[in-house]
């Protein structure tokens, strides 16, 4: 039989249970994803780590590569051990990594030849993208300008409708506290395509929201 005392106790238990449920719902528990799903999450434009920007005829697609993801791309396996990942990450420490792809709207040919009148300018483009572009790239983060220290132009010789650059920038001092509202701005001061300087911003809150990579 229910007494007044037991009713009060039951209500308290219900309230406590409800409170705990709400708190659990509010706390964002970090997700853990297997390598394939982890890579898909990183590459999904809805998660803020891959940004596309259109300027005039050109599309800039830039992917921020957290160390786990960059290491995963090196290993290329569906399941990885913690030791494997940590070994590769150790080698890659000190830089922040990005992949930049440039393509032209409604154009599937060799973008190096896009709207080119003569082969002299083609050579200039190849030379610029191979060597000169590195000096026009930097990261602006918390008031600091971080140079591009790694620049690799992957030539596709017209086999794909975009050109790809693997980029590495000096990493920011990790000791300095990063706020959610801070941003990493990739600054590209274009001097060959005629579009001028462009900025692409990655928000710290999106970087802090990256799930964990599941290892065995």
């Amino acid at each position: 039989m229910l007494t007044g005392g037991s009713l009060v106790a039951n209500n308290k238990i219900v309230l406590l249970y409800g409170f705990i449920s709400i708190m659990v719902g509010c706390i964002k528990l970090p997700k853990e994803l297997v390598p394939r799903d982890y890579a898909k999450w990183i590459e999904n434009t809805n998660n803020g780590l891959r940004i596309e920007k259109e300027i005039g005829d050109y599309i800039f697609d830039i992917q921020y590569k957290p160390l786990d993801y960059a290491a995963l791309l090196e290993i290329k396996k569906d399941s990885v051990s913690k030791q494997e990942i940590e070994k590769i990450k150790k080698e890659m420490e000190g830089l922040q990594y990005y992949t930049l792809k440039i393509s032209a709207k409604n154009f599937s040919g060799d973008i190096l030849k896009y709207k080119l009148n003569d082969m002299g300018n083609y050579s200039k483009r190849v030379e610029y993208f191979s060597f000169g572009m590195q000096n026009d790239l930097k990261i602006i983060e918390q008031g600091d300008t971080l140079p591009c220290t790694l620049h690799h132009f992957e030539r596709s010789y017209g086999l794909s409708p975009y050109i790809t650059f693997d980029l590495g920038f000096q990493d920011k001092d990790e000791k300095k506290e990063k706020k959610e509202s801070d941003e990493k701005i990739v600054y590209y001061n274009d001097s060959i395509l005629g579009i001028g300087p462009i900025k692409i911003a990655f928000k710290n809150k999106d970087i802090q929201n990256i799930p964990r990579l599941k290892t065995y």
Binding site: E54, G56, I185, G196, K199, I200, A201
Partner: protein, 176 residues
């Protein structure tokens, strides 16, 4: 009887909701607005950055020309004031004067080309961002006015200059 009333209310409610959605959708899709083109252009961050770069280049070139001009003028004065005109001085004066005129012409052409290049870069990005603003805010038309008769009248409520300025500068700075 009761069933009929309930069904009738349900149908009327559905029709009213559909009409409201229809009006909202097509009402928004028909939006037009206008911007003060000069104001948007001049307040665009990229324009200000490139203007600063251009000013530095112009100043540096002007400095080179001024220095050369001073040398030419000094030599000219020396020749005019000397009792005996030296062949080497005259030769040097002619050479420096032609150099100055050549550099002046070259710098003028380069300055114009650089200003044109920067202006094209600004308009390329500005056009893209204004287009994106129109699309994402369901505008059918966004007119650009410059106060010289290309838009004879528009309600002030259609002036979206401030919103567009804020949007284009946010987009240029890397925001969405």
């Amino acid at each position: 009887m009761r069933k009929w009333i309930v069904s009738a209310i349900g149908i009327i409610g559905f029709v009213m909701a559909s009409c409201s959605l229809f009006l909202i959708w097509f009402g928004n899709a028909g939006k037009t607005g206008y911007i003060n083109t000069s104001e948007v252009y001049n307040d665009f961050k990229l324009k200000k950055e490139l203007q600063e770069k251009l000013d530095k280049v112009l100043l540096s070139r002007k400095s080179i020309l001024d220095s050369l001009k001073l040398t030419v003028n000094l030599l000219e004065n020396k020749i005019e004031n000397s009792k005996k005109i030296s062949q080497s001085d005259t030769g040097r004066y002619e050479f420096l004067r032609s150099q100055y005129l050549l550099k002046e012409k070259q710098f003028q052409e380069d300055n114009e080309a650089l200003a044109k290049k920067y202006s094209e870069q600004v308009w390329q990005q500005l056009n893209q961002y204004i287009q994106d603003y129109g699309k994402s805010n369901n505008y059918r038309f966004v007119f650009g006015t410059n106060g010289q008769g290309n838009l004879m009248y528009a309600n002030d409520a259609s002036n979206i200059t401030e919103e567009v300025k804020e949007y284009v500068n946010r987009r240029f700075s890397g925001g969405k």
